[in-house]
């Protein structure tokens, strides 16, 4: 069988369009970023304006200025734009009822994602930078958000105070400092200045061990805005030996499913040359290798 003959053929010609008094005025106005509708004999407003309405009646020639916003009556999402489409990114074709009119205009909505499109959504007109008196002087419509960004930025100077500073300076030297109420004998890490139970000053500083009991914990698997650590990570309450309140830190160096209440843990310090006045000098707590302690021995700290 012989090959079927085939050749490309392009038919191209620029015609002249006589826009008439109604559509012509509408398009000419677009050059000046003016949006108008036309009134029909029965009092409706059409945009885009028509010379003759769907009942065959001539429109009145009376023009009405319009606000460049409207409501999406229907839409169709274009995920992969084709050659000749007004966008090279996903967009929607939509029927848009301009506010104050009784019909709808076919145009585009630059919504970014199909998820943002909704029948009934409010849109505003975006003008094209370059205008030539065609419907494309309207670049597209874009979603109107009822929200305004409300940025808040506050600057503080944090002064940790006498007792917390003593604790932080201890950390800088690789020590954990607690505050002791000599009367009640309770040791708080960090020192609080006063024993919350007695009101007595925790006047005595004591160095405490960097080992203790993991009393309880959680594995955090949820990501959130501003998070510095990458989930999953374990956050635990540790009662250091010789203290009476838990401190909170990361638990690491052990698979998550082997972390237990009552596990003995030890601080894992950063290299000494990186020490600062921060609890961040301790990277995390890890199993000390000692046997677990019985529940009764730490149940007062839950």
């Amino acid at each position: 069988m012989s090959e079927i003959l085939s050749a490309p053929y392009v038919l191209e010609y620029t015609y002249t369009r006589s826009t008439g008094p109604v559509v012509g005025r509408f398009l000419e106005n677009l050059r000046y970023e003016v949006l108008e509708g036309v009134k029909t004999a029965d009092g409706r407003v059409l945009c885009p304006p028509l010379e003759y309405d769907e009942d065959g009646e001539p429109t009145t020639g009376e023009f009405v200025p319009l606000r460049p916003s409207g409501t999406v009556k229907s839409w169709s999402w274009v995920q992969e734009p084709r050659k000749g489409h007004p966008f090279d990114r996903p967009f929607a074709w939509a029927l848009i009822q301009i506010d104050g009119t009784d019909n709808a205009m076919v145009h585009t909505v630059d919504a970014g994602k199909a998820k943002r499109m909704k029948t009934g959504m409010r849109v505003r007109l975006r003008w094209a930078d370059e205008k030539n008196g065609t419907i494309r002087d309207i670049a597209c419509f874009e979603p109107i958000s009822p929200f305004l960004p409300g940025p808040v930025h506050l600057e503080y100077e944090v002064k940790p105070g006498k007792h917390y500073s003593a604790y932080l300076r201890g950390l800088q030297e690789g020590k954990l400092i607690g505050g002791k109420d000599p009367e009640a004998g309770k040791v708080y890490v960090p020192p609080r200045g006063a024993d919350p139970m007695t009101g007595n000053p925790t006047s005595e500083y004591v160095e405490v061990a960097d080992v203790g009991v993991l009393t309880t914990f959680t594995i955090i698997r949820i990501p959130f805005e501003g998070q510095k650590l990458t989930p999953p990570y374990c956050f635990g309450a540790i009662v250091l030996d010789g203290t009476d309140n838990p401190i909170y830190h990361l638990i690491s160096g052990v698979p998550h499913d082997e972390i237990r209440m009552g596990m003995r843990v030890k601080a894992k310090w950063k290299p000494q040359d990186e020490w600062e006045t921060s609890l961040e000098n301790i990277l995390y707590f890890e199993p000390s290798g000692e046997p677990d302690v019985p529940f009764d021995s730490y149940k007062e700290h839950l």
Binding site: P196, I222, E225
Partner: protein
């Protein structure tokens, strides 16, 4: 108490993930108008307004009560703001009731709100502070270790939290105002992802936009209202977040607050003398924890009541008939919603989630690191 106080008007918004249709003034107005209509009153009838919301960081509006005063008809009237973190909705209602009981005002509008969609509570609760690592991850990160402690201490059935979630969501299906309407099975809840082990996604409350308002009046203004909810007891207690030997699972402040409110209302046995309760349960495991803390169950036994279905509508002691915080959580309003839903029960206006014949109900709220507690007992009888 010089005066008796009664709730004669209750109004709430429909609670949703985002009330984009309403501004903050529009949101509080919506609840306030409904409460006034329910009380058959107008703005002119109100002597003062007591308003509560969560810490300002949650919405980023400093002192919103000033901005909202016009929307609440507060021109020429006193308006008070109450601050007690998550328990604020409860303590706001308590402050309002005290104005009546103390004879300061006779007709008080009280209101609580939150528009979580405009902010990020998780961010606000997880600040990066100088000198310390960022460790906590929102409220769930804080409460998950306490829940683990409870489970260990009570040797609780591991499904208890999931059972509460299923139950509260079933209740929420009966409440058209609830944010979540989820018909979930136990298997579905158990299969939901762990966020803060041992708390699963389905065992946490949602983030909601919403507001709730109540009109509280002294006895002489109850008038012809057929079904007022009489405030029989109120209490607020606090404790510090950290001290040696603090019981974070069943805080002393919660026990003291419960004892105080029961004493004031003349209740000796809450399980027998209270018909139902709306209790602040933002993570499902807090139901068994609070059953014990509030004296509805012996220590270590709360989870059994849940597992036996006693806290369901139709059970021996229905809890969170409205779906509770597990279905609706506009943080600042969540406490007052508990108080308002308790009042609806004894007024007999709880519609589809009404406990038949409910006469005495408990409203409860807590906040902070389980530090702030607010409760009231309302009754259909004076």
């Amino acid at each position: 108490m010089a005066e008796q106080c009664a709730v004669i008007g209750i109004g709430q918004t429909k609670h949703r993930e985002s009330r984009r249709d309403l501004s903050l003034p529009g949101l509080v107005r919506d609840a306030a108008i409904r409460a006034l209509q329910d009380a058959d009153m107008t703005w002119k009838d109100i002597d003062s307004i007591v308003i509560g919301t969560a810490p300002d960081m949650f919405e980023g509006v400093m002192m919103p009560e000033l901005w909202l005063s016009d929307a609440l008809g507060a021109a020429g009237r006193p308006i008070f703001r109450v601050h007690t973190a998550g328990s604020v909705g409860g303590s706001t209602a308590v402050v309002a009731s005290h104005l009546i009981q103390g004879g300061v005002h006779e007709k008080v509008l009280t209101l609580a709100f939150e528009k979580q969609s405009e902010a990020n509570a998780m961010w606000a609760l997880s600040p990066v502070i100088p000198f310390q690592p960022q460790l906590v991850a929102g409220a769930g990160g804080y409460f998950a270790p306490l829940i683990r402690s409870y489970i260990r201490r009570a040797d609780a059935h591991p499904d208890t939290g999931c059972m509460v979630a299923v139950k509260d969501r079933q209740h929420g299906l009966l409440n058209p105002n609830a944010h979540l309407h989820l018909n979930q099975t136990l298997a579905e809840v158990k299969a939901s992802p762990m966020l803060w082990d041992p708390i699963r996604y389905s065992e946490t409350c949602p983030s909601s936009d919403g507001a709730v308002a109540m009109v509280l009046v002294s006895e002489k203004h109850v008038g012809r209202v057929k079904n007022p909810a009489w405030v029989k007891g109120t209490s607020v207690r606090t404790e510090r977040t950290f001290f040696a030997g603090r019981d974070q699972v069943s805080p002393a402040a919660g026990k003291l607050c419960a004892k105080d409110v029961y004493d004031e209302a003349g209740i000796r046995n809450p399980l027998k003398e209270i018909d139902c309760a709306e209790v602040y349960v933002p993570f499902s495991w807090f139901e068994p924890m609070w059953l014990e803390n509030l004296g509805f169950a012996e220590e270590g036994e709360g989870w059994r009541m849940t597992m036996e279905g006693k806290t369901k509508l139709g059970g021996e002691m229905p809890w969170n008939m409205s779906g509770g915080v597990m279905c609706t959580n506009p943080i600042g309003a969540s406490g007052m919603l508990r108080f308002a839903e308790a009042a609806r029960q004894v007024r007999g206006t709880a519609e589809q989630h009404q406990v038949e014949g409910a006469k005495v109900a408990l409203g409860h709220a807590y906040g902070g690191g389980s530090q702030f507690f607010a409760m009231w007992i309302v009754s259909s009888e004076r």
